[in-house]
């Protein structure tokens, strides 16, 4: 009876609104995905695509404007920098650095986050207390400052940058995974697995982990933008992947004092960062709406 009553009371959903929402959800974010595809492809095939050597310049070709400006040549589509290096080639190779750093950082950060999140959520008790306090402390320390100090003390190399960025991203994964595990471990299928004699690692990785994957995918896409921004900020401040490797942040920094004579040196790599992060965010928002209805917002 009660069920019937609620059925009657419940207002009919507006069919048009639901249809519209469904249509919007099914619609792929085409432009962001196109930009991301370009980003990944240029990153992977950088040596094949780049028209020039990104690290070699010519003194005759210093500060040449982009081809559409007066004095620009079609040889250097986006112009050259203060050392005569081709800006376009450097932006292309910069995509490679950002891509590698983001991939490795997220891989490592996610790994640490997942393992500690699973442990904290599953075992509870002092393990949970210690891990979550470490997360709290990490989130209470300003990220860039910590990263700068670590890079200064440990030295500037690719591995160290990745390690520092992984330290920056793992807490959010840990916290979210823990929350999911707390919920999942009360489920019947977990109890059944226990009764069937499954070992703890088996329960954690075969039974519980799959339930966390959707959240992880969404979180990871949203974190890519953050990692790219962090990496570029570090390299802008001179604490990124060491030169002459072309990283977007250090390229923006190269053009800092030359805005009046050669605005394109800073502008182009910055545009590349913005477009990539923007596309990643839009794609992540869409993915979140698709995969995780609980996080869905009115838009």
């Amino acid at each position: 009876m009660a069920a019937e009553a609620t059925l009657v009371v419940q207002p009919a959903p507006a069919p048009i609104r639901i249809a519209k929402k469904a249509w919007q959800l099914r619609r792929w974010p085409l432009i962001p995905m196109l930009i991301l595809a370009i980003f990944v492809l240029t990153g992977v095939f950088a040596p094949l695509i780049a028209p020039h050597d990104p690290e070699r310049g010519g003194l005759r070709e210093r500060n040449l404007p982009p081809s559409w400006e007066e004095g620009g040549s079609s040889k250097f589509l986006l112009g050259t920098d203060h050392l005569g290096r081709d800006v376009l080639s450097r932006v292309i190779f910069g995509a490679r650095i950002s891509l590698i750093v983001a991939a490795v950082t997220l891989g490592v950060g996610m790994g640490i986050g997942v393992v500690s999140g699973l442990a904290a959520g599953w075992y509870g008790g002092w393990i949970d207390e210690v891990l979550m306090r470490v997360v709290d402390i990490k989130l209470a320390i300003p990220t860039i400052l910590l990263a700068l100090v670590l890079v200064l003390a440990l030295g500037q190399s690719f591995m160290i940058i990745v390690a520092v960025l992984a330290i920056a991203v793992w807490p959010r994964f840990a916290r979210n995974v823990r929350g999911e595990v707390l919920q999942l471990k009360t489920m019947d299928f977990v109890a059944l697995a226990k009764v069937a004699g499954a070992s703890t690692p088996r329960i954690l990785f075969i039974h519980i982990f799959p339930g966390v994957i959707n959240t992880l995918i969404v979180l990871a896409t949203l974190e890519v933008g953050i990692v790219i921004l962090l990496e570029s900020t570090l390299s802008f401040l001179g604490a990124g992947v060491p030169p002459p490797t072309p990283a977007w942040g250090s390229m923006v920094s190269d053009g800092r004092d030359r805005l009046a004579v050669a605005w394109w040196i800073s502008t182009m790599p910055g545009l590349a960062i913005m477009l990539t992060v923007l596309s990643m965010n839009l794609f992540g928002d869409w993915l979140r709406d698709r995969l995780d209805p609980r996080l869905r917002q009115l838009n």
């Binding site: 300003p142 003390a153 440990l154 604490a239 800092r256 965010n281």
Partner: protein
């Protein structure tokens, strides 16, 4: 309530302790600290004296104790470059950073809040599109690049505003806008979605059905409730505005703590760097603590959670 407060204060202290430990380990890992203070012309007595002051002949935990004790007294040693106590150098820089942070905060509220309300109320209008652009740029453009682009446009091309420094009053505009933009974007997004949520709720529909005027529905019924997440975020913002100044102060040569931190990093000025990092963290943690305590007073759900 008391338990909650105690927990928050303990966590803040723990954070500071962790940071001091990181800094201590870093400074020891980077090499013999005596090389930082002394050079080839120092005498053996200088070396011995410093060894005693820093406790270098004692075990590490004892050295950390000495470091911590003097840090608590506000003594971080003399800045190598300036040749005077680090604390003194830092205190001079604090006003500039606070000024910039405050200006950026005001910008983020003045731009983000009205645009957020209007883009929710006039959904799909030109204003909504403008709001979307502001939000998208703010959340994806790197702060340092945004700053440089503003300099290029308003200082180099139009020559309306000074490109860097802190000589004129108008000098603060560009750094404040670059620093505040991200938070303006966040405020805008939060408020827009909160407003849409609230305006879709039953009591707002009831108010409309009762014939309450549109303005009253928006300003009285909706906005008050939609402001809660924005206020929450504003608290978080205050702390990160302080550290956001690291980048912005470097771009605009703004003579605050952020610039000092980068300078001490670049110049290997360890005593000064340690002090700056501690002060930064202290400000960050203190603001977060204050905000949390405020919420506990405002929102009883937090107290008993």
């Amino acid at each position: 309530m008391q338990r909650y407060l105690l927990r928050r204060v303990l966590l803040a202290l723990l954070t500071l302790l962790a940071v001091s430990l990181i800094i201590f380990v870093m400074s020891r890992a980077a090499g013999d600290p005596r090389h930082v203070y002394l050079d080839d012309y120092s005498t053996q007595e200088d070396w011995d004296r410093l060894t005693a002051t820093l406790g270098l002949d004692k075990p590490y935990y004892h050295q950390y104790g000495i470091f911590l004790a003097s840090a608590l007294k506000g003594d971080f040693g003399e800045s190598i470059k300036e040749g005077r106590p680090s604390t003194e150098v830092i205190i001079e820089r604090i006003p500039a950073t606070l000024q910039l942070g405050l200006a950026a905060f005001i910008f983020s509220v003045v731009v983000g809040v009205p645009l957020g309300i209007l883009s929710a109320v006039k959904r799909g209008s030109v204003l909504d599109t403008i709001g979307k652009m502001v939000a998208l740029v703010g959340q994806s453009a790197p702060v340092f690049w945004l700053g440089l682009m503003l300099v290029f446009l308003f200082a180099v091309r139009l020559e309306w505003l000074p490109p860097y420094g802190r000589q004129e009053i108008s000098s603060i505009i560009l750094p404040a806008v670059s620093l505040g933009w991200f938070y303006a974007a966040a405020n805008l997004r939060l408020l827009r979605s909160a407003m849409l949520n609230v305006m879709d709720s039953e009591y707002v529909k009831l108010a409309r059905a009762k014939g309450v005027s549109n303005n009253a529905v928006i300003w009285k019924h909706s906005l008050r409730n939609a402001l809660i997440p924005v206020l929450t975020f504003a608290g978080v913002t205050l702390g990160s505005l302080v550290t956001g100044s690291l980048v912005v102060e470097t771009v605009f040569a703004w003579p605050g703590l952020g610039q000092l931190a980068i300078q001490s990093l670049a110049g290997n000025d360890y005593p000064l760097l340690q002090a700056v990092v501690i002060v930064f963290t202290l400000m960050y943690v203190a603001v977060a603590l204050l905000v949390d305590i405020m919420y506990a007073y405002i929102d009883p759900r937090i107290r008993y959670a």
